[in-house]
């Protein structure tokens, strides 16, 4: 059998978890967030590693930093926007350094597959002067994490390992290694290192700058740089590519006849290596997603060659083979390029991609020309989702809804169309206060909505701000007992830890009461008439209120098919009210409304939506199914 049989097909996230195990990590923390979530989920399955979901990324990094001070190799994982939350400890950690190796994984999300922005976190590494490694496939993800721990301990610094969605969620072959046992480290009191009062901070900043110089030398290390040379003739080529991460894969596939410098370390940049690579070249093409992070720095090096990047590649979204191929054709079609002796490439032999069935539009190569006539299939709240009724009522009450981040953000889409703002985790509660302070006429018309996991993440402080500053709004907490959007992770309200141990079950309503909020109510959102009554009352009240809508996520509930509903076609007057409820189990087929019995979860909320009483339980008596 082929040797490949011995390799494992792993996602970048799985490879990172494996590497953490091999590197002897003892403590790992994270807050779930796509595309980073599976790192901790996988790592928690290895024995002997303490893994925890923290309430947010800031706390995750702080716990990690404590573990590092105590001597453990520690990993902390978060999505790109999570590092904004953790930016406060992150910036100063660069000053204090570490004891046990500390690596922060930032999973960026170009194209925003599942995010609110596509910020380029490489700037955080530069900002904090923290070394950064970027793998270009799962094998490198494994190798680079192990290297990152060595760098962290050798240079007494936290290290950032940056991936993007296509690294985190693509599978490629990985050769597993053996677990290593790093040297035992113990906690040593060292206030000048860990207590950042100004006097000590000034000293640490100088040490940081010295470390930076050492790291710059170290970045020339052969392990951190890969040069691809496509055969003898090409060594004389006058064009070269500098790239890193997933962009390398596109570059390598399309520009297969061009020398490529792949940087596994992208902060600090290996300047000497770049200078040597650029020697004799007329054009250095920088291929990178998002910001011109490498390009601007390489330009500042003052090399002889022309440096080009963003004049060819977009500064938003992801790169792909089509975009890179288009640039390839552009360069090899011109006089400029023939001058560079790459030569013999005609467009026929050089074009890596033959034409597709249908010519692809110039504007967006990802979008097939047919798509204009094809119904979109947007993600929707699941059948039986307990969030739906809350937004159904809020729409009825014509409230302005300051939302948050979670499954429920999907209520922005028709037919509910019931969310008016979504900025970042925890933002809605503060935004609602700001609106009523700016325009008292909005009083009684603005509500904020936040999930349970999100409430623990960053909803408590703005709730206190509302209480303190005499806010009079309505805060709705959608408590479905899980972190649903990222795949059902536990959180402080659940009573279980990541490793499955029992723990305290914290309730959002108790935090509201502790903040002195007088009007705190808990309702079952599936009781539609009660929910409407409660929300009306609390919205009209001229005082701050908190309503917790508590019902477990429909995907975690056992479905009792005895409770599924059907539509009585004789009673149905085809008014369409049920469709406007937005449950995917309620369907319109050939002019008639009907229930998809396979999808129906039997929550029966829709029976209250139909004014004609046409939606009924299908079975009068309990039967065995």
């Amino acid at each position: 059998m082929d040797i490949k049989e011995n390799l494992q097909l792993l996602t970048g996230n799985e490879a990172i978890a494996r590497a953490a195990y091999e590197a002897g990590v003892k403590v790992a923390t994270a807050y779930p967030g796509t595309p980073s979530t599976e790192i901790l989920e996988n790592l928690s399955r290895y024995k002997g590693i303490y893994c925890q979901w923290s309430v947010n990324e800031k706390v995750a990094l702080e716990v990690a930093s404590g573990a590092s001070i105590a001597g453990a190799r520690t990993l902390v994982a978060m999505k790109h926007v999570g590092l904004n939350v953790a930016a406060d400890p992150f910036m100063t950690l660069s000053y204090t350094g570490v004891n046990g190796g500390l690596v922060i994984i930032s999973t960026d999300d170009p194209y925003m597959h599942s995010s609110q922005n596509e910020q380029d976190n490489r700037f955080y590494a530069k900002f904090a002067k923290v070394p950064m490694l970027e793998p270009s496939d799962s094998q490198e993800a494994l190798d680079m994490l192990i290297t990152a721990f060595k760098i962290s301990e050798q240079f007494d610094t936290p290290v950032l390992l940056r991936t993007t969605t296509r690294i985190s969620h693509s599978r490629s072959l990985v050769k597993l290694g053996e677990k290593i046992n790093p040297d035992e480290k113990k906690y040593v009191k060292d206030s000048k290192k860990y207590v950042m009062i100004p006097a000590y901070g000034r000293v640490r900043h100088e040490l940081l700058l010295e470390r930076w110089i050492k790291l710059s030398e170290f970045s020339e290390n052969k392990e951190l740089i890969k040069v691809y040379l496509p055969g003898r003739k090409i060594n004389k080529a006058k064009i070269g590519i500098i790239t890193s991460g997933i962009s390398y894969q596109y570059a390598r596939e399309i520009f297969s006849n061009v020398p490529i410098l792949k940087l596994l370390i992208t902060n600090p940049l290996p300047e000497k290596t770049i200078r040597v690579f650029a020697q004799d070249k007329h054009l250095i093409l920088i291929i990178e997603e998002l910001e011109p992070f490498l390009e601007e720095q390489v330009k500042l090096m003052g090399l002889g060659a022309k440096i080009a990047g963003k004049e060819y590649f977009p500064q938003y979204g992801e790169l792909n083979l089509d975009i890179v191929d288009k640039v390839y054709r552009q360069l090899f079609g011109t006089e400029l390029i023939s001058e560079y002796e790459i030569g013999k490439h005609t467009l026929e032999s050089g074009s890596r991609l033959s034409a597709a069935v249908i010519p692809v539009s110039d504007k967006n190569p990802d979008e097939p020309p047919e798509s204009g006539n094809i119904p979109q299939r947007p993600p929707v709240l699941c059948a039986g989702c307990p969030h739906r009724s809350v937004f159904y009522i809020l729409k009825k009450l014509r409230a302005a809804v300051m939302g948050d981040i979670g499954c429920y953000t999907l209520s922005v889409l028709p037919p509910l169309s019931a969310i008016d703002s979504c900025l970042c985790m925890g933002a809605g509660i503060g935004q609602a206060l700001g609106m009523e302070k700016a325009d008292p006429k909005l009083k009684g018309k603005v509500v904020s909505v936040i999930g349970d996991s999100t409430f623990f993440h960053s909803g408590i402080t703005p709730m206190i701000d509302n209480a303190y500053n005499n806010g009079t709004g309505l805060i709705i907490i959608l408590d479905n007992g899980t972190t649903a959007m990222t795949g059902h992770q536990v959180h402080p309200g659940v009573g279980k830890t990541l490793s499955g141990n029992d723990t305290l079950e914290l309730k959002p309503e108790n935090f509201a009461k502790a903040a002195g909020i007088k009007n705190v109510r808990v309702v079952d959102p599936n009781d539609l008439s009660l929910l409407e009554k409660v929300l009306r009352q609390e919205l009209e009240r001229n005082e701050l209120s908190v309503v917790v809508c508590r019902r477990v996520c429909a995907l975690l509930e056992k479905v009792d098919k005895n409770n599924i509903v059907t539509i009585d076609q004789e009673k149905c007057d085809k008014c369409g009210a049920c469709i406007r409820f937005g449950c995917p189990a309620i369907q319109l087929r050939d002019g008639s409304y009907a229930i998809d019995e396979f999808l129906c979860m039997g929550c029966n909320v829709c029976t209250a939506v139909c004014k004609k009483g046409a939606i009924l339980k299908k079975y009068k008596k309990t039967i065995k199914i």
């Binding site: 599942s114 692809v360 094809i374 979109q376 993600p379 087929r589």
Partner: protein
């Protein structure tokens, strides 16, 4: 009508066609070309399992493989895609043009057909799942999908995978029927396919999945 289910057992015509693809790709892969397969469908149709089985079968046949999946937002009933790239050495995990598209739903075949490589082949499950935008009357589910497909390519095959799976009393095995049909087009050893299925489905569902795969293969 190019509809196949296993009642008209062994359609020689379709097998001659798939053999031509198989021979072509046996040769292309030897030359170092990369084979790209795109799976499209709706969340819950087993797209990720199908990509994994194909990827494992290719690894067992000695190839380098990269797989791309979509997580997160896309799982809430949205359209889902997964892709597998196979070759001596594979670079990009995401595809540009697909040499084969396997669509587990008809609308999702139409949505992705622009990605089909010239001369590539499309396998479509004869199955419709209406999106929410159709129920809210914002759009209509196209009535003429087959016609629109046939206007764009002659290299396609419509398979009643759900009916075949239902006859095996396991609707969830429809993805294996499609994989079985796909297997006739690809130069991977039969034993590698069954080995890959074995490793990726629960043991109590193994027989029905293998049966579904074979039904697809024998169409």
């Amino acid at each position: 009508m190019r509809k196949y289910d296993n009642r008209n057992n062994k359609n020689n015509n379709s097998h001659t066609k798939s053999r031509r693809y198989l021979e072509k790709w046996e040769d292309n892969l030897k030359k170092g070309q990369i084979l790209s397969v795109l799976f499209s469908g709706v969340g819950g149709q087993g797209i990720i399992l199908a990509t994994t089985v194909l990827a494992k079968a290719a690894i067992k046949s000695g190839f380098d493989v990269k797989v791309s999946e979509v997580h997160g937002m896309a799982q809430r009933g949205g359209s889902v895609e997964g892709s597998v790239r196979i070759g001596k050495e594979v670079f990009s995990p995401i595809i540009s043009r697909a040499d084969f598209i396997v669509a587990a739903e008809k609308l999702e075949a139409l949505r992705y057909i622009g990605k089909l490589q010239s001369g590539g082949f499309l396998l479509v499950n004869d199955y419709e799942i209406y999106p929410s935008t159709v129920f809210s009357k914002d759009t209509e589910y196209p009535k003429n999908i087959e016609e629109r497909i046939s206007n764009l390519t002659k290299n396609y095959m419509i398979i009643d995978a759900v009916q075949i799976a239902l006859r095996l009393n396991e609707i969830r095995a429809a993805n294996m029927v499609l994989l079985g049909a796909l297997s006739n087009f690809l130069p991977l050893e039969p034993g590698c396919w069954t080995g890959a299925i074995k490793e990726n489905v629960p043991s109590k569902a193994l027989n029905v999945n293998i049966e579904a795969f074979n039904s697809g293969k024998n169409l």
